[in-house]
Subunit: 220 residues, 2 copies
DNA sequence: TGTACATCAGTGAACGCGCGTTCACTGATGTAC
DNA sequence: TGTACATCAGTGAACGCGCGTTCACTGATGTAC
């Protein structure tokens, strides 16, 4: 697990001997990410983040206006990690494929990356894509794109666009098609990672993922 | 909304003048359902349920072993409501359709019922199908079936079975097919009802639902 | 180059909140005689 | 049919927990002169 390419690297415990912390903002964000990783969005609390940074609880307010502001920052980071997972999968698509096959492979890669991210980084996945509290719109303050400059939603849209350009999908069916694909993949992830199908389906997650992507490919 | 056939009827405020309550177990359960309805699973607390029943907080322990026990009971009730919604949709399928069309219509009805339930009763939907805390396995103590005697998962499986029996789906693809269908529908529900697509897709939920079901039908 | 001083990052203590849960109790009910 | 009594549903008070957030503060830093 710890060698998957899209896992953010945990920071050092930041042994602190100065009065000033040095980079508390970053330390709090990284503590928040660690909390989200193994407890999901609900685990991202100011008190625990400051505890981990070795700092008084109210020190957080120098860097984040509220708990929600920290959560927003953590969520952006989780989205980045998701984009990274999808990009990693996209990188395995052979570029020499004929355009229609290439386009199909791209969409599969996006879906596979999403599913693998959900499985490998459940907490971050939930923080990125399943915030049950009505969270205010993402701020532009925190970037959500991966190294390639596209966020998860954009990566998906690009892949669906490519399907049309390669002639695999009629242009008339394009509008909103990304939502159908996203739904299928998101549903499997939620049911298995976080829901009632964890026990029965979990062990065969990869296989169900591929069958689901078959269904999407045929059905779109 | 309040006339949808699958909405449990709210109980009277239970004006209490006796020392004994009369039916506190039921009152707590109904309060819990009401809480779940407009706050999701996290809103189901013992203290608020007892408050609504007009009773001391610890009185709940005469009827439920813990907060989790109450939540389990509420969840079962939410599953019943889901089954009711799906049955209501199934009842609209014309019985005189030729078997293949009938089987397809049944699967659509199951999916449509699920989606409408998610939209109309978001809180109950989340309580039934999206409990993010790892909740212990459902107990047989609380029934989850609708009036027809089948719970939501069974209704779905029945519909997929019918697809095979009508010759619409090859038997070889049957195992696990219900999981693919469920995933698609569940994902759309989660993204729209509880997630990032609420704003853009919410108004066209019904249309996206039908397109999604087209995709499932073609792709299965 | 040295010193006064403004800035502002982090401290310590405290607030109010709601939660689940436990304790010893009280008093209405219904059964045994 | 009337009365003693066991049962057990609900009370009142309290516990410890963790949370977000506010207040007046302190002390290291870096800049202006």
């Amino acid at each position: 697990m710890s060698t998957l390419p899209f896992m953010p690297t945990p920071s050092a415990p930041a042994a602190r001997k100065t009065y000033r912390h040095g980079d508390l903002r970053r330390a709090l964000l990284e503590a928040g990410i660690a909390l989200a990783r193994d407890g999901g969005p609900a685990a991202v609390t100011l008190r625990e983040a400051t505890r981990r940074a070795g700092v008084a609880p109210n020190a957080a307010y120098r860097h984040f206006a509220s708990q929600q502001a920290l959560l927003l920052a953590v969520r952006a980071s989780a989205l980045q990690a998701g984009a990274r997972a999808m990009e990693a999968e996209l990188a395995t698509v052979p570029p020499e494929l004929p355009p229609p096959d290439h386009a199909r492979a791209r969409l599969r890669a996006v879906g596979t990356g999403y599913l693998r991210f959900a499985k490998a980084e459940t907490g971050l996945f939930r923080t990125a894509f399943a915030l049950s509290d009505k969270l205010i719109q993402a701020t532009p303050e925190w970037p959500t794109a991966g190294p390639g400059g596209r966020n998860p939603y954009e990566l998906l849209c690009d892949a669906v666009d490519a399907l049309v350009q390669a002639g695999v999908m009629p242009a008339a069916k394009r509008p909103g098609a990304e939502i159908l694909a996203w739904s299928a993949v998101h549903g499997l992830a939620m049911l298995v990672v976080d829901g009632p199908l964890a026990a029965p389906v979990g062990p065969h997650f990869e296989m169900f993922g591929q069958r689901l992507l078959d269904m999407v490919e045929k059905g779109l």
